[in-house]
């Protein structure tokens, strides 16, 4: 006997997801096709387990794929800022070439997942480097500005103030005092 089946993909997937979430005792809510909200706190191990259970049915948690690319974007930015790579190249061009995706794509993905933009992330990393250099205390602010390709010391100071709310010298003074405080 040959049976002809009418398949309702939507409810099949829904049932599978329900069963697997319940097996792992996850509190969940199916938001629509391809989207599930897990309400309880989930450990990485449990998420991994769910991911493996669903993979049997050909269902993949895409968040991971995205996170991998996001991590690559971040790593590339950190490398760019901290290792004095050829800075004549625009960062958008550099990232696109390095990651093999269009800048539009990575930029949108980044904003969607990280609550910030690539431009802002680069600035935060640059200020981190400035902080580091300030605390090593080997270079003057002018030299730091030059090293990190700021057009002027004023530009660097303004960006520092925008990100931290403090001037570079106030920052240095506070960290200095804090260190003395700990020693006492």
């Amino acid at each position: 006997m040959r049976l002809f089946l009418k398949l309702d993909i939507n409810s099949i997937c829904k049932t599978i997801i329900q069963e697997q979430c319940e097996k792992l005792a996850l509190e969940y809510e199916i938001l629509g096709f391809g989207e599930v909200n897990i309400k309880s706190a989930v450990s990485d191990a449990k998420l991994q387990e769910l991911s493996e259970k669903l993979a049997v049915y050909g269902i993949q948690i895409i968040e991971n794929q995205k996170s991998i690319l996001i991590q690559k974007i971040k790593d590339t930015i950190v490398e760019m800022v901290f290792s004095d790579i050829d800075t004549t190249l625009k960062s958008s061009v550099y990232l696109a070439e390095k990651l093999n995706h269009s800048y539009g794509y990575i930029s949108n993905l980044f904003s969607e997942v990280t609550y910030t933009s690539i431009e802002n992330y680069i600035i935060i990393q640059k200020i981190e480097r400035v902080k580091q250099l300030l605390l090593i205390n080997e270079l003057t602010l002018t030299e730091i500005a030059y090293k990190l390709n700021y057009s002027s010391v004023a530009h660097l100071s303004t960006q520092f103030k925008n990100i931290t709310g403090l001037t570079p010298s106030a920052f240095q003074r506070i960290i200095g005092k804090r260190r003395n405080n700990i020693e006492i």
Binding site: S40, T116, E128, L135, G165, L166, F171, I174, I175, N181
Partner: protein, 149 residues
């Protein structure tokens, strides 16, 4: 996803301020879980509980009964299990002395309480977003200072 939830704790004795704070977070895109305590004593016993998820950021009012913000800050800095928690001073004071002293004693963020709701949303959004970068990217917490007015 759950892994993107930011846990937030506010210690403030003023009921209106607590309400504004919660309402402001409801307006922010970030997925935040907000808890409140009412004074310094309650804060310290909360942070010593073992059945809670420790907050990523503590917003700490300076002027509180029973134990004030700076006293709490000093205690927090002595507790090793709270090393990863960022401390944001959340105060009506904008005196340079308070600000500098808070930072020197180990606060990461200093926020002067904004006067209107829109600025509050904006301020909390900035503080939470930048802190999230520090949290997820293991940036150097020791040099994380942020002043918002």
């Amino acid at each position: 996803m759950q892994t993107n939830t930011i846990y937030i704790l506010l210690a403030d004795d003023d009921e209106d301020d607590r309400t504004f704070f919660r309402d402001a977070f409801a307006e922010i895109k970030i997925n935040a879980n907000v808890n409140v305590v009412h004074d310094g004593e309650e804060l310290m016993s909360y942070l010593k509980r073992t059945d809670i998820i420790l907050p990523h950021i503590l917003f700490l009012d300076l002027n509180m009964p029973r134990k004030n913000g700076l006293e709490c800050l000093a205690e927090i800095k002595q507790l090793e299990h709270l090393n990863d928690m960022a401390v944001a001073i959340y105060s009506t004071s904008a005196s340079e002395k308070d600000i500098e002293e808070s930072f020197v004693r180990g606060a990461n963020i200093y926020i002067k309480k904004p006067n209107d709701f829109d600025s509050l949303i904006k301020t909390l959004n900035i503080a939470t977003t930048i802190n999230w970068q520090y949290h997820t990217d293991s940036l150097n917490k020791d040099t994380f200072l942020l002043r918002i007015e």
